[in-house]
Each structure stands twice: as structure tokens, then as C-alpha cells.
Symmetry: D2
Subunit: 336 residues, 4 copies
């Protein structure tokens, strides 16, 4: 940590800050400049809580050098992590994975049709939501445990591993019985109790970025899971909230190469939730792969115009098959 | 809902959209304009899911007229709600309430000192966190149930009702045993399962706005609680996330008079979390009251520079007593 | 500046960075920590361009300690600036000033009526726009120089100094002939050529914050004017752009006490543009004064529902008179 | 426009609104719903100023259906525009164009070297800034007219058309003498006077998106130019400002396919300014092309670590040549 003093800070103020640092068991190294003095803080083993310092007289600001994560950083763990979901691998050197399926599980017929279509087109994991977080209480809330059974059934029929969202700790048992990989949704990215529980399991986890989470917070959330011992974490960019409303969210695609620099965990992209518009899913899927994503998760529904949830961003089977053709070509071009 | 067609939409496309609306059991009223046709949708009892419409050929956009909330809106429920917390009342016509106490419960001595100080200064509810949501897993996470007991003890000693945050459903029993009002934090504003469970209780709830939640989403979250039968909901503005980083968040104070127009629920302000800076707490507390807030929640710690959490935004007892003097004068001026 | 190296940076990389700093004519002070090395940069007289450093091998990030402004900072110039506009004073110790008038100048009758109304109610400066920046080219663009004459006429009739916006350098002569204080609008906050020209004049300037400008950029823009020798700069917060769309912008009121800490320049608030809603103008005006603003600028139109611009956020004469009564009471309470 | 009344609006209020609409010379069509009445407004030839309506009693909100632009919309002008810059074509069906060169023009040697390198690598237009908008007044401000001459010289030597930014109207003559295409920077996207003047010329214009501009505002800014008769406008996405600070801006890549739907104008991407990080330029350039961009503009400097401006985001000649190799392969794959 670096403590920046005001230009006009007195020697007594500087001394008091140095003392406060030493009281925390750390070293204080004054760095006198031409304009002001700064004080370097040494000896910490990680992120320093600056509460005791930040508002002391004469302090202009404190600047953190350590990050609130370490286990997930490439700086401390240079080797890339590969996450294996029933033989489907995510990570550097592996062919990027396409996950597909409906936003929400609605019926056996719908799930079997969806599974058949996405499998035929080349998807390698089937998605479907049984527990749905919805902005208002008067919207469809998902089929719950019954939905989980339909998802498993459809996955088994098509020979695909399945992923579904878990929203609360009590659902973990049921979800783990039926799913091969757990999804933590954007609204739960900082549901720290849930992260810790998931960290105790030995099941792969897809962690979505919160809609206003910085990359630092995103990695710190992953750190919660990894700190409990579960290293099988896949990150997922799904758009952030900005002033722009022409799209549902703003897909922050530069996060893909940036996270590949900063972390050893794999990262995929969800262009469906990011854009909220069917016509943008194909160009953004391709862009994600070219930018280095380890996978893409796409919403596919046998009959999007009758979907109970997010139909406007879902592709039908035919459009998805066309997209997969294009993605396969692109992956071949990219050397996979 | 209004469906806006493209300028170049064909009659067949317009007919198809009208049919899709009727298939949803609703009425379609075409409104031909000089530039394009719009189609009004009538007969819905609330928010319409536009998934089946939005991406039909010829549709430019759909515009929602109904909101994802109704019970909490002043439009449907003009009379203001007053929430009573053990005799302390929040709402129109009531003297605004000052809630104060430390960010997190650290020890018996700290809580007793804090309670004594805030009571002496004139606060009417004691706050303190037992379960702390922290960005990184390596920070202090709160005392848990032991903290709840200390909070209750300190509240009883000072004769103050107490408020504390609940982060997960399993904590509800313990928290309800010790707290007079439950706090749902910003990170849980869209933890819909938690909202529903809290809605089944008959305990007052303080619901904080999510850090990137629109007012519409904020009210829809409150609707989750009220829809389950619990109408004792107090809203709390605590700053939103913007590009500005000189303050921890951006306090959106205009939300106070705006929510008073839109909803019958009381609304208070948390200037400590909103600004993250001790020196801004006093001016923003006063501004909140003048803008019409039904209360203010302030972080107070007997020794902020040694606080385990958020010390930089906490007032010490002396600064809080000074602030309370000023707020009392202001409230008298405002006619309370 | 502080240069933070990667955990795994080699000694050769650290040496290369130190050399690059010395090549810039600055000193490099290595600060070896337990996790990584940081390098302090000393000897600079202001903001350092880090281009030559930031992407060198082994560098994780560079952190600026110096700000891109100095003349406007309280750190280097502790004494508060008072700006005098024909005897109307803005600054610490002066009674806060209410500026009022229509968004745009429409006709002689409108301006005379507006001037009479705002003067009678107690406003001390008359505003009115002759050159209007409008999002689309098909909207009313202002009366131009004819408008300036009407503004001057109305100001003279009511005995009020007048303020108006200048959008381009070529307008400066005409505007200076008719106005007592120049307004630089939000869209021009970073029109650096205009700032420099205005800095060469000896006329007071009201500088509005850009709609997505950080406080640092806001102060750096003011520095452009002051660096040319014009120290009569008043800052104006007018709302920033966020994801929230229920209000036109988000009024960032905490900027008022924060800028009073950081800068010696006066700061006022424009609640009309910030909220875009007539009903929010009164509560936000009061909140601004309580938060420490040196003035408030309010849109007033004799007949808002027929205004050519921004009628929805304008008060009529009667509503403004009522607001002024309340503000006078509040100012008396605040000791003015 | 659609006017949405409150649930509790009275018949008299509804009548008053209808009358106000008719007073504007427009038709009012009431649409009574089960919950509330809405009023459709017909007969307008474009965007309606809703000032006279929005705050009338009983009105909940007004919703705009018309956009503040028309000439640039694909809805009214379905055929794609191709912009020709001295034989280099931007638009549908044309090979995407790579523009490259230094952020700022520093010297003859630097420009000749840059021009030679980017030409050899395959760039088709040379960029270089002579007038530089800088956040603070103490940074390098560009070589001005001398820089323009060096740009022209270097372009001629390499046989490349040249692009440079124009910041104010008085620079237009000089810039037009030396440049083949004018750039309007992000800070000037809403410098409406400049847009109008540029609209009167018959020179191609590259219009960059403002850092907090919505797509609607972006297209409305282009409308200013086209409305004056200059249809040779190329749009440029260069990142928007969000809460994320790990990158300089957030590249909003989904704007590329979206603007291709909404407008007939070509759109290119500037990954250098969008990300601010050298290592992200290559992946984002590729992603832009795959997403459908008609071009990419990249900062290239012969010696980035000694650049006077934005060195951290500049590629050197070797890195650029490598990128061009990859882009050429990608374009071939994409069928160009």
C-alpha cells in the first residue's frame, strides 16, 4: 500500500501515519518527493485494510498495490487451469466449448427437442434453468426440482453433460444430483455464503460476472471458491450495466484477453444475456472466440417466440445449426 | 405495451404481430402514424413478457407501459405506509429517524460503548453487522451469531431497537430472535429467495438498493417482499456505482423525492456507504433530510481508526454527537 | 508515480524500469516488498506521462500520485477563491446565489416576463440560452446574437447581471459584449481550445461538469482556464450519466463538499438539468444549499408548458417564488 | 409518441392532455387499457418535443417512438452507404480497411518511419494527430499546422491517404488542405457547430462516438453532418466510459452489428483508445472484423516507449506487421 500525504502535511502528521502503520505490524517507508511525501507500506501478506489510515490528518489518499485475490492470479500461479466437465475440457490448448440450451426448462418435450437440436448442431454441454431469478415476482419462476429432472433426462438422452444455475445453498444437494457443472448467476456473484459452500464441493463451477462487478471483484469472487479448495472454476462474461440501453447489457469483450493475462482460470462468454438480441448473438459469438474465449454459452429454444423466458435473445434450432457451422469453420481457421 | 413497427414493415408483418398478441390472450390496437405503425396492446393485468413479439419481422421495438411492480406503487395505493419498529415510526408525517452504530460488531465493549454514545446523541435505532459481506475471502467476515447476542445486549442496555443484516435464509431464525428490523444488503437486493422468505415474516425490513439497480428494479424487489404479505418495508438509498471513483459510490439523492412520488413506502439514506468518506457524512445526512428522507443511517464507531471494517467512513462518538446537534436543529427548522 | 512490478518480475526487468525512469530525468526508488517490488518515482514537478513505462516487461501497473491539476487545488492554494460577478459574490463566506431564468431565449416578451419574475422572487443573476446545443439537428437551435440582445435588455430592465452559454470561440466577442458571466456547457467541458481562449479573458466563467467527467477531469478542465490567467471560475455540478434513466441524469451532490475540500474554487448546482423533472427541482435545490453549494441555478419560464426547450424541468414564476421563499428561510437557518 | 397516464388520472386530466396535443397541431388517440389510459400522438414528422406534455397533471411518462435522426437510419434509407477516401472504400461489400499511425505527430523522422512501417505491413490509410485534446493543460498539445505538413509529407512518401483530427472550426481550412479524411474526436461528437461546418464540406468524415454517448445520440450527431449535405460519414466505436477501470474504456463491440442494422453508414473500431493496453489491441482488432466492422484504426509508433502520447496503447512496427499478417489471414477466411 502507498499512503499519499497532502502537499501541506506537517512532519507531525507524517510521523503519526508512520506510527499507525507500525501499530498494524507493518513497516513504513517514507518517500519524500518534491511536491509531497508518500509512505510505502511493507510487510503485508495480502490486501491491507486501510480504514485506520485513510482519514488520518494530512493523508490525501491510500493506494492499494496488493489485490483482494491471490490464488486465482496468474502472477502467483502462472500455469493455466483446465477444467474438465465429464470429459469436456475448458482452458488453454483445448478446443473452445459451445454450451447451448433454453433459458428455462419448461417441459419434457421442450427439453428433449432442445437437447436433440443442440447436440445435432455440435454443442457439447446442455444448459437449462430450473430456478429462475426474475426482476419481478409476477413472472415465471422456473420449474424447480422437477425441472432438474427434465434437464438430466434430456442430457442423458442426447449424451450431453448438463449445467444449471443454483441460487441458494439449500438447492445445492438437488442440483448436484442432477447437474455436471453448477452455474452461479450474475446476481449471486457476491453471495459469499453460496460461493463458500460451492467451494467445499468437488464439482465444476461456472461463475458469471456480476452486472456491475469490476474485474477485481470478479476475480475476488472466484477466490472465495478456490480458497475453499475447489479449483474447477470457469469464469463467464455476460455483459455489464452501462448507460447504453439499446442492448440489454454491454458485452465487455476485452475482458477475455485481459483475464487470460491476469488469471489462470478459463473464461467463456454468454452473448445471449449480454446483448439481449437474437441478431447480435452470432457476431458476438464469433468475436468471443477470436478474442480468445475458452467457450461460448448460447440460448437456444425449439420455439423462441413461445419461450416463457428471454425468447427475444434465443435462437431456434435452425439458426443455431447455422451458427455452429460458422463457428466450426472459425475454430478450424483458428487451428482447433 | 406498445409495439413499434419499422417504417418499412409490410401489412403482412403487421398482421402477424397482431395475431401474436391475440395468441397471448390480449387485444391489439393498431395506431397508424405518418411514419410508421404502432400497435397498442390492451387487456394485460400487469407487465407483459414481450419475448414472443420483440424479434418478429418488422418489429423495431417494444415499449413497456406496465411496470414489474404494483403493490408498492403509489399509483395503485396512494396512501403512505408508516412502518413501526418497536414504536419508532418511519414514514410521512413522522419525525425522520436516525439509525446509528458500527459497521461490524467486534466485541462487547465496543458495542456497549457504541450503543451508549449513539443513544446519548439521540439515535433511535442501533445498527451493527454480525454477518459481513466482504469483497475478498481474506477479510474479516463478522462474528456471526455471537455478534447477534452482543448487538441485542447493547441495544437492551441502551434501550434501543436493533437492526442487523441477514445474508441467507438459514440465518433468518437467529436474526429474528435478536433483531427488531432486518436489513437486506445491496448485494442481496435481487436474492429473490431471501426476499420471499422475508416476505413471509411479520418483521420490518430495511431493503437497500443494489449498487447498479434501477429504481424500477428496486421497487420490483420490494414488491417481492410485499407480495408475500409483509408490508413493513423501508427502502434505503446507499449509492450507486458509476464511473466516479473519488467517492466509494455515487449517492443518488434525487431518488428520495422521486420514490416518494412513485411509492407509498418510506425511504431512508445511508450516507456512510454511499460516500465512503467520513467528511462527507455530515453534509449528505443533512441534504438527505432536506430532500425528504424518512431517516438516515450513519456508521459510528467508538474508535474508527481501529475499526475492523469501514473505519474510513465511520464517525467517532464526538463527531456523531455534533452531527446529531445539527440534525436536530435542522429537523426543528423543517417542522418536526 | 509508483510503478508496481509483477510478483514474478526478474531483477533485469526491475533494472530496466529503473533505467527508463532515469532516462526521463527522474529518480527511481525501489521499494522491495514481501510479495513484489514497487518503484517510487521522484523529482517530477507534476503529472508524469507513464507511456514509456506502463507496458515494459514485468510492470503490472503504474499509479499516479500527482494530479493533472495544481493551480485549482486547495492543496497548493489553501485560501478560498471568491468570484465577483458585478457585485454578486460566489464563494466561502458569501450568501449562496440563486441564478434563474429560461433554458432558451425565445422572445422579448418571454425574457422580460422571466426577468421580472425571477428578480421579484429574489434571484440575483438572470440566465438564458442564445446558442443551444441540441442532440438532434431538427430541434430549435436558439436565437443566436439576437437572443443575446434580448437577454441583456431583460437583465438591464430587471437590474440583474446575466449569464449565457458560449459554444465556440467565434461567439466570444458577441457574448462578452452582452453577458456578465460566461457559461461553458457540459458538452464543452473538454473543448480545450475554448477553455484556453476563455482563460485569456478577464470575465467570470461558469464551468459545467461534463456528463461523464470524473472530478479529476473536471478540475483539470478548470486548470486550463486558470493556467491562462483567468482565476474567476465557478464550478457547476449538473448531473452525470449513469444507468438510471428515471431521472435525466444522476445529480452527484456529494461532489459539493468533496470539491470544497479539494479545490478553492466555488461550486454551484444545477438541479434542473440534473434531474430533468420539475417536481425534483425544489428538494434538490434545498439539498444543494445544505450540502454547502455556493449557489443554485434553476430554470424558470413564464409558461413552461409552451417552452421551446426543456419545459418539463422548468418552474413557472409562481412555483419559483414559492421555492425562493423556502430557500430564503433555509439560508436564514444556515446563518446567511 | 405515447403518453402514459397514471392509473388514477381523471377524465379531466386526460382531456387536458389531449387538448395540449391538439394545440401542438398533432392528433391524440386515446387507448383505454384495463389499468390506465395511454394516448397515442400521431401526425408528427419526426421527434416530438414533449416539454409541454411531460409534466401535465395525471401524466406518468411520455415515450418517444420517433428518433432524433432519420437521414442516417436504415429504416428510411435501406441501401448501404460506401464512403470513398481517395480510392479506399469503407462499407458493405468492401474489404475492411486498416488505418494506422501514431497517436500524435512528433517529428519528420518519426512520421516517415511510421508511414513506411504501416504501408509495408499493409495499412491503407495513415493516421496522425496534429491537434491533441489532453485532459490537463500541462501535457503535450500537438505540433499544430506544422504537424499537418509532416503528415501530408509522410503520406505522400508512402502513397497513403491521411486522416487527422480537427478540433475547431478555424482549423478546418488548414486540415482540409492536408488531410483526405477529417476525424471528429469523441470529445467533439456533440460539438454541433463543428458538425454543421463539416457537413457543409465535401470531404469524408470519421465521427467517433462520445465516451458516454448512447447509440441514439451517436446517430443523431451523424445526422447533423448528413443534414447539411455531406453523406460521406464513417462511424467509429472507440470505447465508452463505465465503472470498469482495468481498461481505459469499455469497448462496446456489439455496437458494430447493431449499427449495421440501424444505419446505412459504415462503422469501424478503434481498439487502441478503447482498451488503452497494447496487449489487447490484437485480439480486439480481430474481434472487430469478425463482428462485421468495416475497418479498424490502430495506433502504431516506431518507438512506443518514447512516444509523447499514448505509448502504452501503441504497437511498434514489428508488432503491427505481425497483427497485419493475422488480420490478412482472417479477412481471407472471411471471404475478402
Amino acid at each position: 500500500m502507498l499512503i499519499v500525504m497532502h502537499h501541506s502535511a506537517t512532519d507531525a502528521q507524517i510521523d503519526a501515519v508512520e506510527k499507525a502503520v507500525r501499530d498494524m505490524g507493518l513497516q513504513a517507508v517514507p518517500i519524500p518527493g518534491s511536491m509531497r511525501t508518500a509512505i510505502g507500506v511493507l510487510g503485508n501478506q495480502g490486501y491491507v485494510d486501510d480504514s485506520a489510515i485513510r482519514e488520518l490528518p494530512g493523508v490525501r489518499e491510500t493506494i492499494h498495490v496488493s489485490k483482494p485475490y491471490k490464488l486465482v492470479s496468474r502472477d502467483f500461479h502462472p500455469e493455466s487451469t483446465v477444467v474438465d466437465v465429464k470429459g469436456v475440457k475448458f482452458g488453454d490448448g483445448c478446443t473452445p466449448v459451445i454450451i447451448a440450451g433454453p433459458c428455462s426448462i419448461e417441459s419434457e418435450a421442450q427439453m428433449l427437442a432442445a437437447a436433440r437440436e443442440v447436440k445435432a448442431a455440435g454443442a457439447r454441454i446442455l444448459r437449462g434453468g430450473a430456478f429462475k431469478p426474475r426482476t419481478g415476482p409476477h413472472s415465471f419462476q422456473g420449474l424447480g426440482v422437477d425441472g432438474l429432472r427434465l434437464l438430466r433426462l434430456a442430457g442423458a438422452a442426447a449424451g450431453l453433460p448438463v449445467i444449471t444455475e443454483v441460487m441458494r445453498i439449500e438447492q445445492l444437494d438437488a442440483v448436484c444430483r442432477h447437474a455436471d457443472i453448477l452455474q452461479i448467476g450474475a446476481r449471486n456473484m457476491q453471495n459469499f455464503d453460496l460461493l463458500k459452500e460451492v467451494g467445499k464441493l468437488r464439482v465444476p463451477v461456472l461463475l458469471k460476472r456480476g452486472m456491475s462487478a469490476t474485474i477485481e471483484e470478479f476475480l475476488a469472487a472466484a477466490e472465495y471458491i478456490v480458497a475453499e479448495g475447489n479449483t474447477d472454476v470457469i469464469l463467464c462474461e455476460r455483459g455489464i450495466r452501462t448507460f447504453e440501453r439499446a442492448t440489454r447489457n454491454t458485452l465487455d469483450l476485452s475482458v477475455v484477453p485481459l483475464i487470460r493475462e491476469m488469471s489462470h482460470l478459463p473464461i467463456i462468454v454468454d452473448p445471449s444475456h449480454a446483448t439481449g438480441k437474437r441478431t447480435l448473438v452470432a457476431p458476438m459469438s464469433k468475436a468471443a472466440l477470436v478474442a480468445g474465449a475458452h467457450g461460448v454459452m448460447v440460448e437456444v429454444h425449439p420455439d423462441p417466440d413461445r419461450a416463457l423466458c428471454d425468447g427475444a435473445q434465443s435462437l431456434d434450432g435452425k439458426a443455431f445449426a447455422k451458427l455452429m457451422d460458422e463457428l466450426r469453420g472459425l475454430l478450424t481457421y483458428l487451428g482447433y
